[in-house]
Amino acid sequence: MTAVTVEHHEMTPRTGGHWSLLYRAGLIRGALGFCLLGAFGFGLVVVFRWWGGWQPLLDMQIITLVSLLVTGPIGFLAGIGAFDYWVYYALGSPTRPEDHSGHGARTWRDYFRVNTDHKVIGIQYLATTLVFFVIGGFLAMLVRTELARPGMQFVDTQTYNGLFSVHASLMIFLFVIPAFAGLANFVVPLMLGAPDMAFPRLNALSFWLLPIAGIMMLSSFVVPGGAFACGWTGYVPLCSTHQPLGAVFFNQGVQWAGASSIMTALNFLVTIITMRAPGMTFWRMPLLVWANFTTSLLVVIATPFIAGSQFFSMFDHVMHTAFFDPQKGGYPLGYQHIFWFYSHPAVYIMMLPGFGIMSEVISVFSRKPIFGYRLMALSLMAIVVLGFSVWAHHMFVSGMAPWLRVPMMITTLLIAVPTGIKVFSWLATMWEGKLHLLTPMLFALGFLSMFVIGGLSGVMLGAVPIDIHVSDTQFIVAHIHYVLFGGSVFTIFAGIYYWFPKMTGRMYDERLGKLHFWLTFVGFNLTFFPMHILGTEGMPRRVADYAPKFADLNMFISLASFGLGASVMVFLYNIITSMRNGPIAPGNPWRGLTLEWQVTSPPPIFNFDQIPQVVGSPYEYGVPGAQHAVLAPSPAREVEEVGVP
């Protein structure tokens, strides 16, 4: 981000001495807010306990929960200014609807503020999620180090269980889901021909909930008793009554991440429904927009269920309720039903946006229209509908009502049909095309082949008898990584490389990008494919110690996983150096037709000088003279280019 354009707005004058830092919205006031409201939460607990005559007055468990995990973070949000505008409005103070001082980034500092520009928020999301991706990957390396030999060598069991639990939670809630939200945040308004999201201030708030969730989950390692160690699924009663305080950090971390997800999804829905440029009918929307539309539907309907499951589990833990405690009449399987009613659709929340990225990348780099556009969009909708009817396939061996298994198997197997339609349509899109095997396309092809393997092992798991044998084994670990790494992570990489020029105004290094792809592709397969064999042969998952006969294969997997971990370093080196020193990117390096490529790289602060007029499909490659949209010729640039130090 070397040059940004500044137009019709004024920068807020920086006035006041050092003391102004304490009351001006920002990270310092955020820290202050955290302390103040944290202390308020502390006091609230003490006052209530004193009033009720409960002993001990200082119950650190409740105090930690209320003050560190609830009121403190609210104070932080207030401090950084996430609520300022709404508070002014509620108090009747004059609001400044045309004040864009919190919009767009002029210096790197603006990325550490509450910012209402969807492009800044998109990059905030991506940077934050990549940090958690690296941390989560590091935890996985520790897990593999312990698993390299049978027996315990490296960490104790509590730490080991914490490592894989936090690894999964970070990768799911702080990487895959929000990384897609970040990419979509940057791209969707541009693709729609809109100046921003429908609710920019809500958008900013959604982002700032994320670091709270991530830090909460990570900090559970330093809580007395250790991190939550019951897996990311948090099954009760293990997680509600048999866990140290760290479990509450998971329960509550999920709430913050979930709230962020729901707000973002609402924002996308309203934006996509109401802010499409003139002429942009639903059947002219790029498939990435379709993908985020359907994903947002899933998020809005499903995410409240995981919020409910985590609240109930936490109440059982700290307030001795008995939602799931069988000794007091609770029902442990109730948790699993509520949990998977979210967490199965969550698999599609982590998949559909990637499908959208694939449709863009494959069409552009094959120089052909997407094959069967309407069926592609309709199969997304089919996945949304079917996705809500398959949750209990995670519970074939759980002891639930046996009759439920066959109907759930049928819906599970049927969902392979719309997914298959998408895969075959991408293949047909490439057929007779002009394939340019640049890094985004390589990751797209890697995705296609890996996701097919993950999808097919998913069909195997859908068949109840096979699932009964391999449930809770390393086969499951292999399957979810083929779907979420070979699937989602490959598409995230493809998306980051594809839009890198648009986001930064610079090109990434193509050779390093290809090197990154090959290291990832080979390392990924060597790491995760052998896990299928371990699982069918009899090695369960979530164990640090295992039978000696699995030792050699585990050593092999661990060595391969270190290679896979190292490949991420190539990626980070590439994006960090290219962001500063890469060649300047043209507005449309890939000759794409969708709207984001018709503006400068990076785009102007309000995206379009005039709202574009959409006149056709976004994928008319090979049709002479075809246009997706007509942009008003920008009036001779009166815009001032400002260099950023």
């Binding site: 009663p237 442990p332 229209p369 309407r374 047909a428 068949a463 075809a626």
Partner: protein
Amino acid sequence: MRRGSIASLVGIGVVAGGIAAAVALVFPWLPKPASREAGRIDFEFWFVVTICIVIFAIVAAAILYSIWRFRAAPDDDSDGPPIHGHTKLEIVWTIIPTILVTSIGITSAIVLARDDKTGKNYMQVDVTAQQFEWSFSYPSAHGLTSATLMLPKGRSVLLVLHSRDVIHSFWVPEFGQKEDTVPGLRTTLHITPDRLGTFPVICTELCGLGHATMRTTAVVMTPAAFNKWLKGQSKAVASPNTATAGKAVFTNNGCGACHTFAPAGTTAKIGPDLDKLAAYAQQAHQPLDAFVRTSIVSPNAYIQPGYPKNVMPQTFGTSLSKQQLDALVTYLVGGKK
């Protein structure tokens, strides 16, 4: 499409399918079945794998062929032909997968129904799981309990699963079948062992710190050997010699899964070393007998430094009879006074 391109496409597909089939055949995927249910599961497994290999071969062939034939030169700025779709083709790749998954669904449902069918003459075994041990009791032998699962070959067995604390899961890879044990629920699992041998019993649902070590063995024996074992066990439990009875209680309740105890030949290290009980009692300033008894009945009363709280089951006070408890204490204290 020209005939030559179809031939090379098929050729790539055959090679890709061949490689996938080789991977499927070379590696030892499934353990050798030791139950009729595992045999049926194996059939379903290979049925689905065959379909998967064919689909994988088609996709791999299409990708590799496209890369080979449709790759553009870097300076080629032209576009491909504007093909927007092909209705017949789209119908084909909707219908064929639907037929395939339906066939998988039907065969699976049949396998499932047959695997769950116990028949009339089945033997019931009550399985109790608790952190981190298994115990098996035989209602037909007046509730005789054992820490290893002994089964006669060829007999239909209904395992009735219970849990005393959290969710566990019962799995013997060679039997194929698996089911969670859920506190407050009665779940069942059906197996018909059909091969003699000793197989691992594995807990597959994360159940706490000792999850990886929550293991025992299942032994499939001839019906004659099984009956002999039943009789021998019933005698040992009723033995007036408390040391013999104590050893039976120790073994049958799975104490050795977590504790080292030389007389029983166990070496696990999750809980305190029972060969050092005398020293522990001294540190706790309690008489040895009372210390051992309290530690079994209410384990959290005194926690030996270096070991976590709440790991040892708190249920032995109720699950063991007074006689069994006496015998166990005598056995543990034996010779150390």
